[in-house]
């Protein structure tokens, strides 16, 4: 038996075949695979998805502005990727656990992150978003791919809840990562573990076509979704700029995981509209024509067109949503400007869970050193 690779129609930054239920023009169409998972979705839910995408984009704009004004050290924009983030995250339950990368601000927003949490890492004040157990969402992972293994381990823990005296549950672990991450050994090992143990985990690969300057073809010559079956994991390749398709794909994946059928993999084909981070200059490696081609596939515009046509979105509702997004941005800005850096000696806190003699001595010595400055510590 010979297995031959199936290549994408155009692995070079183009769509190739994807499952879609809303066209770029805002027309609702039927995809046989996704239809059972999006059939009967209410207009209200669609409006909610739209609202979350608008909020995410507004947050993103504010993040970039704050960085440009020197208030944030860095920002990783997610403009263009709102549909995959919001669509998949909205399908989750609060009890599911999410392990994202640094670009998933939309996921963090949907999971309920506060304005302060959304900026503190980028401002250089903290290294995480705080307690991951509060909203069952880990902070932004910077080591590419590492979080995929954490999600699989968490899912293996879900399978073993009874050992901890807890009731069995149908909770699911979810991990988000990029097309570049798909090259990391950790991601491959995560798929091996997930499949071998039938772990209730969903892999969401946001294929935004670029890993900093490297197009997806440097990572793969086949659609990324085609890799998962080789590990024994079923996958779906969806239009990542179609929020309803992402929502439906996630429902499909979650249903499998919840019902004991094991892991599932989604490749959401999307595009990073902005730079990799505010420190990056995409004009060095990206063709402007490519960018404008993808502008025509804007994930927010198509839902907007659909909702306007159906009448679910009128001027008033649209204005409310815009105002709501502005409020969020104002809150983020206020949280940023009012942030006060913590006391220097707190760098010695929480290095260990139990007292550590060596570090206690260092804290004392550094405290005495700081006291030596007449003006005190500024």
């Amino acid at each position: 038996m010979t297995y031959l690779p199936s290549t994408t129609t155009d692995p070079d930054t183009d769509m190739g075949p994807v499952a879609q239920v809303i066209t770029p023009d805002g027309e609702r169409i039927v995809d046989p695979t996704l239809e059972p998972w999006v059939d009967g979705i209410s207009d209200d839910l669609l409006v909610d998805l739209y609202r979350d995408m608008v909020r995410t984009r507004r947050l993103d704009g504010e993040g970039v502005a704050l960085q440009r004004q020197g208030q944030l050290g860095l920002w990783a924009p997610c403009e263009g990727q709102e549909a995959v983030q919001v669509g998949t995250a909205r399908a989750l339950r609060a009890a599911d656990f999410v392990f994202p990368s640094y670009r998933e601000s939309g996921v963090q927003l949907v999971r309920g992150a506060t304005p302060t949490e959304l900026i503190q890492v980028w401002r250089g004040e903290e290294q995480s978003m705080g307690d991951p157990f509060i909203r069952r969402t880990a902070g932004p992972q910077i080591i590419i791919g590492a979080q995929t293994l954490h999600a699989v381990g968490y899912a293996m823990g879900i399978q073993r809840a009874e050992a901890l005296g807890e009731a069995p549950s149908d909770d699911v672990a979810v991990t988000y990562f990029g097309d570049g991450a798909s090259s990391q050994g950790d991601v491959h090992e995560a798929m091996v573990f997930a499949a071998s143990f039938g772990a209730p985990v969903v892999f969401v690969c946001s294929n935004n076509q670029w890993a900093i300057s490297e197009p997806v073809r440097v990572q793969s010559r086949t659609p990324l979704a085609a890799r998962a079956p080789a590990f024994g994991i079923p996958s779906l390749r969806v239009d990542g700029n179609d929020v309803l398709a992402c929502y439906g794909a996630m429902r499909w994946a979650l249903e499998r995981a919840r019902s004991g059928s094991g892991p599932a993999y989604i490749e959401a084909v999307t595009y990073r509209m902005g730079p990799h981070t505010t420190a990056d200059d995409p004009t060095r490696y990206r063709d402007p024509a490519e960018l404008s081609r993808w502008r025509g596939r804007d994930p927010i515009a198509r839902v907007h067109a659909l909702l306007r046509a159906s009448g679910a979105l009128n001027d008033q509702r649209e204005a409310d949503i815009a105002a709501d997004a502005d409020t969020l941005a104002a809150e983020v800005r206020a949280a940023c400007l009012s942030y006060r850096t913590r006391d220097p000696l707190t760098v010695f806190d929480e290095v260990y869970a139990e007292p550590h003699a060596g570090l206690e001595a260092q804290r004392k010595a550094h405290s005495a050193y700081l006291d030596g400055f007449e003006e005190g510590v500024s």
Partner: protein
């Protein structure tokens, strides 16, 4: 002589190595079209082509592991690890394979690999972008480990590292990438000081400050301030962390009798501990005071807004100088 930033000097060294030796290859994430996130490989793809300047998949173990195979085949790969904190996925390949192959094969296999690492902190970066992992590599036999502190050394030491038949872990302080210095681009490589030698960057008589990387700048500032105070500090840039040039270090300490070692990596089992032990073994009877270390704290690298409390600054170095000189200093008895 030309005034160049360290970034440009490194770029010139890579360009020269590619031009001089067809077996030299550049590999890494974003090193091609983008020219590297720090632009160290800027223009090299255009000048030397995609078979010699290779944008790799985003996989550090893959980058170093395939470089091992290329070295088997006779190439001299120069790999770029994008940031210090991302060398760990490649750690297994570096310590288990790269470092050991020559030994394991009784010299039959050479690993003339250079692993370039944009390194250390002080630039307000995000988590995992300011690490000082040098001690892990110094602890591994079979590797040479060097750290540069100025554009001229960057230019010549990188070329020496590439020409070296042993694997070299090459640390480039990000904090100094855009600082300019004089480089004689036309000088013969053979005339440059070998990368294994330490250098006295400032002569002095009261105490020796041993350091490396960006901390050389801080130590020189401390020496300047101490001079205003009537204290004469000798500053030594180690340049090579494995092996350490103890001849240069010991000659200085025998004269001054007092030594402060400073680096921004955490102190525990760090390079400073090794150097202090090496000095004590060699200079015990010349020492007027115990060698002191001034290092980063034994904590994970803190968030950017607090990093200045972690990085040893001029005052912490001067404080240690006061202590080795047995002068009054800021640390109370209670704190010790």
């Amino acid at each position: 002589m030309t005034a160049l930033t360290m970034a440009k000097a490194l770029n010139a060294a890579l360009g020269r190595a590619l031009a001089d030796d067809p077996s030299v290859l550049i590999m890494g994430e974003d090193v091609g079209t983008l020219g590297g996130v720090f632009r160290i490989t800027d223009g090299l793809l255009g000048a030397h082509g995609a078979s010699r300047v290779i944008d790799t998949p985003l996989a550090e173990s893959g980058i170093v592991g395939t470089a091992v195979g290329l070295a088997y085949r006779g190439f001299r790969p120069v790999v770029e690890i994008q940031f210090d904190g991302f060398v760990y996925p490649a750690f297994d390949q570096i310590v288990c394979q790269v470092a050991k192959l020559h030994y394991r094969t009784r010299g039959a296999v050479r690993m003339p690999l250079t692993v370039r690492i944009p390194w250390a902190g002080g630039v307000g970066a995000a988590e995992h972008h300011s690490e000082s992992p040098e001690a892990y590599f110094v602890h591994t036999s079979g590797l040479r480990v060097v750290a540069v502190s100025n554009p001229s050394d960057a230019y010549f030491m990188l070329r020496q590292a590439i020409a070296c038949d042993d694997p070299v872990v090459f640390f480039e302080p990000k904090r100094l990438y855009h600082v300019k210095g004089e480089v004689d681009l036309d000088a013969a490589l053979a005339d440059a000081p070998p990368m294994g030698l330490a250098r006295v960057v400032r002569a002095g008589s009261d105490a020796t400050v041993v350091t490396y990387g960006a901390q050389v700048t801080t130590a020189l500032e401390a020496a300047e301030a101490a001079a205003d105070d009537g204290v004469s500090l000798e500053v030594i840039d180690l340049r090579s962390l494995s092996p350490v040039d103890y001849d240069t270090v010991a000659a200085s300490v025998r004269r001054t009798g007092r030594v402060v070692i400073t680096h921004e990596a955490p102190g525990e089992a760090g390079v400073g501990a090794e150097v202090a032990a090496g000095i004590t073994e060699r200079c015990f009877h010349h020492l007027e005071a115990p060698p002191l270390r001034v290092t980063g704290h034994d904590i994970p690298y803190p968030p950017a807004k607090l990093e200045r409390h972690h990085l040893p600054d001029l005052d912490r170095i001067l404080d240690a100088v006061d202590r080795v000189l047995e002068r009054p200093h800021s640390l109370s008895e209670a704190a010790q």
